[in-house]
Symmetry: D2
């Protein structure tokens, strides 16, 4: 695998941004591998993802950020720089349902996901053996209404100690406090088992059944302080008919949840997502 | 085309219903062409659609209803009987958008829809020539808040005079009064330009854009007194990305709306829809 | 769970079949739970799946077949009778790819699949530990061109000894001989990684890439003596673009293969598939 | 509407191409609106679509091509330059089926398609009135095996006289000769009523029915000398079941064909398609 650098950039739209960025890379001998830009014409914002080969790039890795910051400042950019040789550390939160968990364990194990799955946290013990079978650490953090805040502090401590970059809520049935969420902005991905904004909150399949919908969905999104209102990363749907019971919907939904969550995680790990204005730009 | 009879039935579930219905047809020499049943095990309701060839059927057409009513009473059935030789009369309501209208005009003209499209009603005049070009009568019924009730009375009068069996709201931008709706129970089909129950009400594409969804949808449903809450007949979706503006969503949505509305209308005209409990059973 | 019986029936279409079958069940006190029929009007064949509750059914389980055979003979039916209390025995054949295998191991383990997964056969050893981790027996049957016939004999012996009812080829990279296939008619399900009949045979993703298709697919089918020509059970597709490399197609295809294969297996185990004329009728 | 210029470029991949192109636009005061690039790493080819606002662009429209040709030559580019103020001239070829034709007539009339629909050519007369109703010229060119070559010469003469840029085969049931096809490279779009490469040639729905597929498709592609083998622009699919007759497939297929063909035409008219190596890059 070639070593590459990736810049994710957003800034007010103006003339010459693209020429400036690509000029910076070209002048320094970088070979651009992927470049994708997008302009929101309503809000006049420029977005870009650009990835280039570091072989023969004249600026050493550790000095690229400084060198680029001159351009960044000129255009008032928000930006971050990642190297494909850095592997993000990942934690999964789970409760009792295991379909998304096993799906992710398999994808991390086989290398489909470019991340280092360090640990699984659960408020129950039933999935402990399954997790350990995959050679991943398991932590049991039971919670009650009364202990939630204090337990979360311990979770945060562990996550920071392990330098966790991404938290995946794989059907975690606890609502995180605002304090927790604020520690990991745009770094907690949840899977909600409905086609948001339909059926926000609890028991979406039951409510979909009651409403008599003909299609059910799943939505992966970044977690923000407002429940099920964070930036949507991916959604998908599957048909149901009058013959499908709630149990059938739950079964069909499981396959949907796995795929929608896995896509979001993969895009995040490959630095393909830019968040702005409670929306996502996906550079796929 | 063979002459056939179709029964749509719902009743409390009990043993022996299917044997009784099929026995009735077999004893009288009828050849069953389609039979589809469904049981709602939660509510213990039996549903059936059964269609049989009338050639050699021993009971004359006009006496079938009476003959069947003995069975129907025994099982407390709600039922209706239709003959494929009867063509329902159809009216379309439209405002300024014409994509669903032209799509339907084409489908009725070519015979894809088994209905007699008698007239189009609009609160504007801009589509008058287009409608007449297809040889269909056009009526202009402008409405204001003040005149709505009284104009609706004239519309109802016309619809009854023309023996209209089905009313299609092809992006009709007026909300019908409860009085109007009650005159045509399960006989008014609307197309809503969102994936219900997401984005009930006005400007769903704009709200979908604001929310940053990754899929947009359209929903056809029977109109009830509560806005966008009637029994859903069909839904479909199409992907959007961050690159799609509201205008792109509206464009993509047009194709979706046409297809979702046309499916619902076709199923209704072919007696394939049973409504119960604010849901639909589609015997497709 | 209620004990139920299911009949799968096909026969030349004639008047009165449905009345006769449902009459048989009703007369004997059976409560019909599902009934679905289909007529092929081109070939004049009648198909049916009917399932009824055995509680209070007057004919004892072991005599139902005999009792029904009088009706079956009268209408020249092909039929089979299954009880939901009987759990079919299942074997999986696999080579080196493990995505479909793990997906199935998970579904059998969690009870989503109503079958008794007794063993996995592979021509390689690399998946042995993974299979045993799930508590399933693993058999290693390496094959060469020269030994194929003789190895297959041993496989057949094992499958018969273990009373295997269904064989799943979960990306098994060996072509079975006609002799093997003939021993298990309509009881071997394969997953082919293309949208058949496009890209029959080897390396379908590579050929899809070469052809520049915009959608790739997967197909589950019963295995017959002609390669990739057996009755199709299920197909599904996923979009690709010019940005997708062959490797991306393979990755996207994996999720597709898992879902399409799992659906076919579930339908088979729930007695929902009738095969005729190299096609399937799916009573879902 | 702003006046914009669009460049479609392909060339051997090397360092600095993007910087050179964007530098050219920036230096001359152009504001880039869309920029999308793609690299085929297997064949080392660089592709780009770039669109910029001509307001304040220092090079006058008629001199842009000359100015850019210096860069183009340096990188051995194949390229073309279009202005959004130029509206391409379009001709539709049709036989007896009218669903794609009416769909396109509607889309051109309402301005959804940015093209100037100048004429319709048919080998039959049955759609003449329908076409004229939309104010479009209709030409009747009947063909037999014997007259085909000579009739095509007249068609070519007409198309050249009317400066036709794009020819749409909207279910045109005649195979064009190699001579005709060579006159309009990558400028003839056909709709084939199957999921290519499955069911190349005649009667694809009948063959799909015979094969028992569970999904049918439609494919739009540029016409090349080999039948149904040209670069695929777009494909889509719809589910079918054992209940669908050939007639049902044809009906479902009509809606598919309309949408798949319309997408391809729209992308072509908006200069979003690059053809190479018998494939397409779609800059959507």
């Amino acid at each position: 695998m070639k070593e590459t650098a990736t810049l994710l950039i957003s800034c007010p739209d103006r003339k010459g941004i693209l020429a400036e960025i690509t000029g910076f890379i070209a002048r320094n001998g970088g070979n651009i591998i992927h470049a994708d830009q997008h302009i929101d014409f309503q809000k006049h914002i420029f977005f870009m993802r650009i990835e280039w080969d570091l072989e023969n790039f004249k600026i050493p890795k550790e000095k690229i950020a400084t060198a680029f910051s001159f351009i960044a400042d000129k255009f008032s950019m928000k930006w971050n720089l990642k190297f494909n040789t850095e592997t993000p550390n990942v934690a999964i939160f789970v409760s009792k349902y295991d379909h998304c968990l096993y799906d992710l364990l398999y994808r991390f194990k086989t290398g489909e996901m470019k991340g280092n799955l360090k640990l699984v946290i659960s408020n129950h013990r039933n999935l402990e053996n399954g997790v350990k079978m995959f050679g991943v650490d398991f932590y049991h953090f039971p919670k009650t209404k009364e202990t939630k805040k204090e337990v979360e502090e311990k979770e945060i401590e562990l996550l920071k100690k392990e330098s966790i970059d991404l938290i995946i809520l794989a059907r975690y049935m606890q609502i995180l406090t605002d304090n927790f969420v604020r520690q990991f902005p745009n770094r907690i991905i949840n899977i909600h088992h409905s086609f948001l904004p339909a059926f926000v909150g609890a028991r979406p399949y039951h409510r979909a059944y009651e409403r008599g919908v003909k299609i059910i969905g799943a939505t992966s999104h970044y977690v923000t302080e407002e429940l099920d209102q964070g930036p949507i990363i991916e959604q998908d749907v599957v048909r149901v008919t009058h013959r499908d019971t709630v149990e059938d919907m739950i079964r069909k939904g499981r396959d949907l949840e796995k795929i929608v969550l896995a896509k979001a995680v993969r895009w995040h790990l490959e630095n393909k997502i830019l968040v702005y204005d409670n929306k996502t730009v996906i550079f796929d």
